[in-house]
């Protein structure tokens, strides 16, 4: 279980090798990768800027992994999240889970990706051709009446 903030998302093949090592019972590995899109709400994106609480964010990510392990019975998992400036096409988030069978891997992966976006103290500013905006979780996703704030 590794959870960390990074300047650059690690090599995936190495990550898979590392996850596989934890048990011979692993039959399924599921990976989610977040990529910076070139267009957001019709605006051309120049870059994203990620900021995190350097002490709390890795702790929250590690706790999310432990929770996924307890709830879904996955064998191992890893989360990496980018901090700093990220260009279009850059990988900014990687969540991986390893489990005996595929069903628990799918369930755990989706839940973990949502949890990272809505629970980890990490923030994203979208720098577009028309200005820079702090992006916030959409209300229907976060389950609370939070609107986006423009700066």
């Amino acid at each position: 279980m590794r959870a960390r903030l990074v300047d650059r998302i690690s090599d995936l093949d190495e990550l898979v090798e590392e996850l596989k090592k934890s048990s011979e019972e692993i039959g399924a590995i599921c990976i989610f990768i977040g990529v910076v899109r070139g267009i957001s709400s019709g605006k051309r994106v120049l870059r994203l800027e990620y900021e995190a609480h350097e002490k709390l964010a890795p702790e929250v990510l590690a706790k999310l992994l432990e929770e996924a392990k307890a709830r879904h019975g996955i064998i191992d998992g890893a989360i990496e999240h980018k901090v700093g400036s990220a260009g279009v096409g850059e990988l900014v988030m990687c969540v991986a889970v390893a489990s005996r069978h595929r069903q628990e891997a799918f369930r755990a992966l989706e839940e973990l990706v949502n949890a990272v976006k809505h629970k980890a103290p990490i923030w994203k500013k979208e720098v577009t051709e028309e200005g820079a905006y702090w992006v916030e979780a959409k209300p229907e996703e976060a389950g609370q009446g939070q609107s986006n704030h423009r700066r």
């Binding site: 995190a52 002490k55 103290p121």
Partner: protein, 80 residues
Amino acid sequence: MKVKVRFFARLREETGLSEVELKLDEATTLTDLIKAFFGDRDTREFLIAVNEELVEADGPGGVRLKDGDVVDIMPPASGG
């Protein structure tokens, strides 16, 4: 008592503050402190940590502060 307050991301830009040291009455609660900066805004609009532990500002009885505490006031998560 003296308390350090740090602001993150959008809230740092909104307040124009990164980090401030405050001298407070002993009776000041976390809710009072947030109100001082953000008025009546719903505290659920923030993630709050005291001494780098996440807390519920509106928990039962409120959160007491003590000398030397570091309070982090953060926007809701928006990573990914």
